[in-house]
């Protein structure tokens, strides 16, 4: 467990360092995810070293977003100023994205259904 957390933080640190040194638009934790995936694929890091820590964090992922959501209260005035375009655009656009992405991916995922039909 300790080894798993140490590795996750180490990869995050490497990601942060790379992101800052190269002034990349990609945040350090996303870079860290890429590095860790590469290390797993190259067998530098063993899956069982990480499984327990990763499972612990990912099964509680939703909880970690709660403080971020509470932070929205500070910007209530900004949203209130133009609430109509903001709320309509945010809500409708979210559904549009899910429909476009999901429908396209599903269609491309099983192209043979078109032939059968």
């Amino acid at each position: 467990m300790v080894r798993g957390f140490a590795l996750l933080l180490l990869f995050q640190l490497c990601g942060e360092a790379t992101s800052r040194l190269l002034d990349l638009p990609i945040p350090g934790n996303v870079m860290g995810m890429g590095f860790l995936l590469l290390a797993l694929l190259l067998k530098i890091v063993k899956l069982q070293w990480l499984e327990e820590a990763a499972e612990l964090l990912l099964s509680r992922l939703a909880l970690f977003f709660v403080p971020a959501g509470v932070g929205v209260m500070v910007y209530g005035d900004l949203i209130a100023a133009e609430w109509l375009p903001i709320s309509v655009a945010t809500i409708l656009s979210t559904f549009v994205v899910m429909a476009v992405t999901g429908k396209l991916a599903q269609r491309l995922e099983v192209p043979e259904t078109d032939d059968v039909a």
């Binding site: 934790n29 996303v30 860790l36 990912l58 709660v66 929205v72 900004l78 429908k103």
Partner: protein, 232 residues
């Protein structure tokens, strides 16, 4: 004494965990997506802070410590990706094209709708990266001239919306494959949507996690291009 206690990290952490635990119990009891634990917790904590006259910065001392765990959690997304690498690699074309189309649709629909409804230029630009994970969205919006705090708030709201009704909406419009559902919710609602997908299906969660990074990349490169084309 109360003032001093509220200003310690102990307060923010305890409040978050207790409220979240109660929200989870309500979710299990009522068995309805409308009482999504994340959304219910956020609204409850905001109401409690406002009612108690507690400064957000006092809450954040503890809240930020919980938020810190998001960093290693994003890194940990590599684990389910690695475990399901074969299933994901087989579907690389639908995944990449789905994210690309979704990112385009996100920018065009969000900015277009806000423009039609008379939104100001700053608000339109702040909406553009709303489906992108917070740190990438902030760096994008700072470059194009939107309002960074507004974008941060919109990113969280978009995430909650997709987490609350994403899987149900997908089923309703006939998206049944776990890969397509995970990709749709991850592309639209980044990390908060991914958290929900992990509760539904492991493969869908892994694909949603991948979509966080891919959507961030796609939007980073597409947005300046679209702005140049649109003459913004």
């Amino acid at each position: 004494m109360w003032r001093d206690l509220v200003a310690t990290p102990l307060f923010g952490i305890t409040l978050t965990l207790v409220v979240y635990m109660l929200a989870q119990q309500a979710y299990r009891r009522l068995n309805s997506v409308l009482v999504n634990p994340v959304l219910v917790s956020i609204v409850s904590i905001v109401i409690l802070l406002l009612a108690g006259g507690i400064d957000y910065r006092d809450y954040a001392r503890g809240g930020d410590l919980i938020l810190f765990l998001l960093g290693p959690s994003v890194v940990a997304l590599a684990v389910p990706l690695y475990q399901r690498r074969q299933q994901i690699w087989q579907r690389k074309a639908p995944i990449l094209l789905g994210v690309l189309a979704g990112s385009l649709a996100s920018i065009i629909s969000a900015c277009g709708l806000a423009w039609l409804l008379g939104g100001s230029r700053e608000v339109i630009l702040s909406l553009a990266p709303k489906s992108v994970t917070t740190p990438i969205a902030i760096s994008i919006v700072e470059k194009i001239g939107g309002i960074a705090p507004l974008t941060a708030a919109l990113v969280v709201l978009t995430g909650c919306l997709g987490a609350v009704c994403g899987p149900e909406f997908c089923r309703l419009i006939g998206i049944t494959s776990p890969v397509a559902t995970g990709l749709a919710v991850g592309t639209a609602s980044h990390g908060i949507g991914t958290a929900r997908m992990f509760e539904v299906d492991r493969l869908a969660g892994a694909v949603a996690g991948l979509a966080i990074g891919l959507t961030g990349l796609a939007t980073t490169f597409l947005l300046p291009l679209l702005m140049a084309l649109g003459g913004f």
